[in-house]
Symmetry: C2
Subunit: 132 residues, 2 copies
């Protein structure tokens, strides 16, 4: 069996068949043939779906993900744009680290109201310089 049935792909990825059809509709993945009515995907669709999952986890829209990896070949890849993305990710990672610290602080701080706690205020002030 060269190809992966949509049901199999669904089972392996946890994505519903409807979501896979939707991804195909918007051009993120491609089915190569049918078995009866059923879409058959090339094996690398699994890898592509991992990539898509990563992109989603990073907060990118499907359109953005398509823009990064959509074509499947590296001809005409916007390499500078990808490096920009990577840099943005780095900033995002820093912010998330700050949020993580803030959450931990909030969970542990005994002050009656967050806003009264100087440590908390410092945490807030220290981050998100650009975002807000």
């Amino acid at each position: 069996m060269k190809f992966v049935d949509i049901g199999e792909l669904s089972a392996k990825t946890g994505l519903r068949p409807s979501a896979l059809r939707y991804y195909e509709e918007v051009g993120l993945i491609r089915s190569v043939t049918r078995h009866g009515l059923r879409r058959q995907f090339p094996p690398e669709a699994l890898l592509q779906l991992k990539l898509i999952a990563m992109g989603k986890a990073a907060g990118f829209t499907l359109a953005e993900i398509a823009g990064m990896f959509g074509k499947g070949d590296t001809k005409g890849l916007p390499r500078a744009a990808l490096h920009d993305r990577a840099n943005q990710l780095e900033a995002q990672i820093r912010d998330l680290g700050l949020l993580r610290d803030t959450l931990r602080h909030v969970a542990d701080c005994p002050a009656p109201s967050h806003m009264e706690c100087p440590k908390f205020r410092r945490l807030l002030e220290s981050g998100m310089r650009d975002a807000v």
Copy 2:
């Protein structure tokens, strides 16, 4: 002037007045009075909005953010849940690091198609064990 006009808050945060009204509607912030028709917010609304921005950057929904910080006081805070969140954040941070590396690799790799590059495949395999 004890209070912050909605226009001022909008200017300082970059959020549109309509967004601020929406946040108030769903209980994320509270206006304390009016000047004519205009909502006046307490100064700590600015801090709260920073917090909200951080939460959004972390991929939380407004409802989730309200659940974490909504009340404004620390009575009955779900501390264990906050620690869970912090741990989830840590996992997300790792994933983002991986995506960053993947993007950088894609930007620099000379292979004609990502899927043919063993390094790329390794990057994919190495991450998102749970997500996909």
